[in-house]
């Protein structure tokens, strides 16, 4: 039942012991050991686990939550692999892992929460370490700016959310999920509570109009941290948001369908439009991820088992695509020192492997078959159609075209454009290669291995 949390706590302890023995200064053995540990952590996650709730429903676990935690485990394992080069050059490799694992501990608590206070606790625990992580490039002003921006905006959003939670407490009288579900009636007070809580979540998921911090923080942070922010912290909040909407506020469906549709349209459109002119790879992916969350919200608006299944399925695919894309950007940036999309010109000629991976990742984000993202995206739309939100669907259709332009632009740089100064063949370390292969294989087979979708569906159906 607490296996995930216990293992992560044990890993954190182990890291501290390693630092006592100065093991972290032996770069290669240290990184390899940690990667093996993270792999074990991921594999152990699949062992059967007793379900149920504990501590008077503060903590609960079920099949879906276990699966979500497993996705997150896969995510941190892959992120750790892709940031191998950066970590071996950086001095703070121990702190990076410590903070990442603390954050993931918060994520687990948040995912398993059965009480709003617990949820709040987990959310905070998962965010604060990231603020420290994004400040890792100590010599760069941008990096400190990112750290400060993240901590301030997250504090602000937390404040708003806490205000919503206190209103909810006033309306319901008890904050455990069960009693909120039982006592929630749509009225002005709960509507206010809902809007504040929604705003809080919107900050964490960087939904328009609460997205303004995203691009700056993504740009300033080291690539590994940006990767973590965009997949782990965003993905986990999406999972929790799904629970909050579908179960906690299930009784107010009419009210939130409209607000979700509006923010979804805004996120998709503004995310894609702002991505059009970005030249920095990380800013580009920041806006692309804003648009992707907009698409996720289309699925969320499906308000059904299909909705939650397609959202979980999409987050899995989104995680693989983004990690692959950031992995390649990291590899290019490690050699050239540049994060500009221009440095991708002619990549296919000099580095076909990286170019292909990047192309697959971008096609997946754009939703082009036969890559998994196609299925993910279309299932979100299929779910959204269930609620009959035709305007929303229309905007989603337009945004499919817009986003295709964005991603094809990068594909064009890599495959079509000629350049006088092509990149030299980049070095490939084993860790990064493994991670990219995992992402590649995942992105290709997820759409064709039917049991994956069925498994998620059976988990969500309960």
């Amino acid at each position: 039942m607490f296996r995930f949390e216990i293992i992560v706590a044990a890993l954190i302890l182990a890291l501290l012991v390693m630092s006592l023995c100065d093991f972290d200064t032996k770069i290669k053995p240290f990184l390899n050991t940690v990667n093996v540990l993270l792999l074990l952590n991921f594999l152990i996650g699949w062992l059967p686990l007793t379900e149920g709730s504990y501590f008077s429903d503060f903590f609960r676990t079920n099949g879906l939550i276990v699966f979500q935690k497993n996705i997150m485990n896969l995510g941190i394992f892959l992120i750790s692999l892709t940031s191998y080069t950066w970590l071996s050059q950086s001095k703070q490799r121990l702190e990076f892992y410590l903070l990442m694992l603390s954050s993931i501990f918060g994520v687990y608590v948040m995912l398993s929460s059965g009480h709003i206070l617990m949820l709040y606790l987990g959310l905070e625990m998962s965010t604060i370490p990231i603020a420290a992580m994004s400040n890792f490039n100590l010599k760069q002003k941008r990096s400190s700016e990112a750290g400060i921006k993240l901590i301030l905006s997250s504090a602000f959003s937390t404040g708003i959310m806490l205000f919503g939670i206190s209103l909810l407490y006033g309306a319901v009288g008890n904050l455990s999920f069960a009693s909120v579900i039982a006592n929630l009636h749509p009225n002005t007070l709960t509507l206010f509570a809902f809007s504040f809580i929604l705003a809080g979540f919107a900050f964490k998921m960087s939904i328009v109009p609460f997205h303004l911090w995203t691009a700056d923080v993504y740009e300033g942070s080291p690539i590994a941290v940006t990767n973590f922010l965009s997949v782990i912290s965003k993905g986990s909040v999406i999972f929790v948001f799904l629970t909050v909407l579908y179960t906690l506020f299930g009784g107010m469906k009419e009210a939130w369908l409209l607000s979700i549709s509006i923010v979804s349209i805004l996120s998709m459109t503004i995310g894609n439009l702002f991505a059009l002119r970005q030249q920095n790879a990380k800013r580009f992916l920041a806006f692309s991820s804003i648009a992707q969350v907009g698409f996720v919200l289309v699925g969320v608006a499906g308000a059904s088992t299909t909705g939650s299944t397609s959202v979980v399925y999409f987050v899995l695919i989104y995680l693989l695509s983004n990690i692959a894309a950031f992995g390649v950007i990291g590899a290019v940036a490690d050699t050239t020192g540049s994060e500009s999309l221009q440095s991708f010109k002619g990549l296919y000629k000099s580095n076909p492997f990286y170019a292909l991976i990047m192309a697959v990742a971008l096609f997946s984000l754009a939703g082009v078959p036969p890559i998994a993202g196609f299925f993910g995206k279309l299932f979100l739309l299929t779910a959204g159609m269930k609620s009959g939100l035709y305007v929303l669907l229309g905007f989603a259709g337009v945004n499919l075209v817009l986003s295709l332009y964005n991603y094809l632009r990068v594909v064009k740089y890599m495959f079509i454009d000629e350049t006088e100064t092509p990149l030299a063949p980049l070095d490939r370390n084993r860790a990064l290669t493994i991670a990219l292969y995992v992402c590649l294989i995942g992105l290709i087979i997820i759409g064709f291995v039917t049991p994956i979708y069925q498994y998620i569906d059976s988990l969500c159906g309960i």
């Binding site: 669907l393 332009y405 094809l408």
Partner: protein
């Protein structure tokens, strides 16, 4: 019986074979042999189909098979064919063989080129055999990126612009199509993507109208229907020869097939009510395409605009909703597919030698490269509808079918469409006169060598197709007769006219 899946497995094997081999020459041979086997297979399946039909099998679609793909969402990998899909498959297989032969001399990134070509053909086969709307859409989308890369990486001229324009416009079309099939999925109440099950449902007319417009327009973008035709001229002219052949020959037919099979067949009431919209757009496309062709000097732009005009006949035939017109539309799809492939192939052969496609800079090609010149003339004559070639019978059938609709509106549309033939004759004969006949204008041209064996075989194959349909159209009409009747009966049952 899963022989249809062979049509997909074979290209997949070919593609994997291409990926594993290093030598360029081996890659070409793998691609060629794969496509020839595929053509043989397609002929075999057709023969089997005909034998079953003559033995009295009356189900609407044969060789059905179905595998669960995403069961909770009712997505099954189901496939089946009828006569219409079979002739499209045959046409595709022919064009693919010819396309691979024509690209024999490609030297730049051979592996990627042939891989993408095979992927493109795979998507067409998949589209024509699938009967699950989601799977159909999957294959429709699958073709977009290979097209983009083919034009972008091997194209000429303003290739980046054309490739991006094509990809975005086709994506716009597919977004409309997807919204349409999503609507169909939920419309009948039973939540199914299955073509034949939806065909049995009664969808309210209001829903039908919206979905009809969405689907017809969406597929129409693929067929370069006015006003969404603008991707076609740029895309065709920037693409490498084989990709132009595929684009005009196969991809535009995906749209036509979708308009017929999905939009019209599944939504008969709306088709009756609203097809006038598409009669108007088709008439505009026919006339506008023809006049726009007259203004072009670049041979590829010429053929691209004339494709817009010719595909207008397909749309017109489908929108007229009479049995003869539907038959004509299908015939026109096949005929135009082969004819335009031959046209692009011969333009490509000329361009490879002269490095120009401007009609007035060429001249005397018939003297220097008699084989290529002849192929060009044959495709031109077929395009202007000379009796004996496939263009004549198919366009004639469309006109006859359209004339069956009485009423001033339909008559005007038909007459306009017929009148475009004259314009077609003008631009075709002019192009032939400038480029093929006459004296050799440029001394460089005296050094040209005539077609290689690969080019010759490609042209012969396509000319054979043109003549076969032109001289024995009953082969084609008999094959599709039952299916156009099915579609027509469904339309007829609705109005009872």
């Amino acid at each position: 019986m899963d022989i249809l899946l062979l049509l997909l497995i074979l290209p997949i094997i070919t593609a994997l074979g291409i990926l594993t081999v290093k030598k360029s020459q081996t890659i070409r041979w793998i691609a060629l042999s794969g496509s020839i086997v595929q053509l043989t297979l397609a002929i075999g399946i057709t023969a089997y189909y005909v034998s079953l039909r003559s033995a009295g099998v009356t189900e609407a679609m044969l060789f059905e098979s179905s595998y669960a793909w995403f069961e909770p969402l009712k997505i099954y990998f189901s496939s089946a064919v009828d006569g219409i899909s079979l002739v499209m498959i045959l046409m595709t297989a022919m064009v693919v063989v010819a396309g691979i032969l024509v690209s024999w001399k490609i030297e730049k990134q051979v592996k990627e080129f042939f891989f993408l070509i095979v992927l493109l053909s795979l998507s067409a086969y998949g589209f024509f055999i699938s009967t699950n709307l989601f799977v159909m859409f999957f294959f429709l989308e699958l073709a977009v990126i290979p097209k983009y890369l083919l034009i972008g990486m091997w194209g000429s001229g303003r290739k980046e612009y054309s490739a991006m324009k094509l990809a975005l416009m086709l994506m716009f079309g597919s977004a409309l199509v997807f919204l349409g099939i999503l609507g169909l999925f939920y419309a009948g109440g039973a939540q199914t993507w299955d073509l034949q099950e939806i065909a049995k449902m009664n969808i309210p007319i209001a829903t039908q109208s919206v979905l009809y417009i969405l689907l017809f327009t969406g597929f129409g973008v693929f067929t370069a229907m006015f006003p969404f035709h603008t991707w076609a001229p740029d895309g065709h002219s920037s693409a490498p020869t084989a990709a132009s052949m595929f684009l005009a020959g196969i991809s535009m037919k995906l749209g036509g097939y979708g308009c017929l099979r999905v939009a019209t067949y599944l939504l008969p009431n709306a088709a009756q009510e609203l097809s006038w919209i598409f009669i108007i757009t088709a008439s505009i496309a026919i006339i506008y395409g023809a006049f726009a062709t007259m203004m072009q000097k670049d041979l590829k732009y010429m053929n691209a605009y004339s494709s817009v005009s010719h595909c207008g006949f397909v749309i017109l035939g489908i929108a007229m909703l009479t049995k003869a017109a539907l038959t004509g539309a299908v015939m026109q799809m096949v005929s135009h597919g082969i004819m335009t492939a031959l046209f692009f192939a011969s333009i490509g052969m000329i361009y490879d030698r002269a490095h120009t496609r401007q009609a007035d800079e060429l001249g005397g090609m018939l003297k220097q490269v008699p084989f290529i010149g002849t192929a060009f003339i044959i495709s031109g004559l077929c395009s202007l509808g000379l009796p004996g070639f496939s263009g004549f019978v198919s366009e004639m059938t469309v006109f006859v079918g359209s004339w069956e609709r009485t009423g001033v509106f339909y008559r005007v549309a038909t007459i306009l469409a017929c009148a475009s033939i004259v314009v077609t004759a003008v631009y075709i004969l002019r192009a032939i006169g400038f480029a093929i006949w006459g004296s050799v204008t440029n001394k460089e041209y005296l050094k040209f060598k005539d077609a290689t064996w690969a080019e010759r075989s490609a042209a012969v194959l396509l000319i054979f197709g043109i003549l076969l349909i032109g001289l024995a159209p009953f082969l084609l009409t008999q094959l599709i007769d039952m299916d156009t009747t099915t579609i027509f009966n469904r339309l007829f049952a609705v109005v009872g006219r």
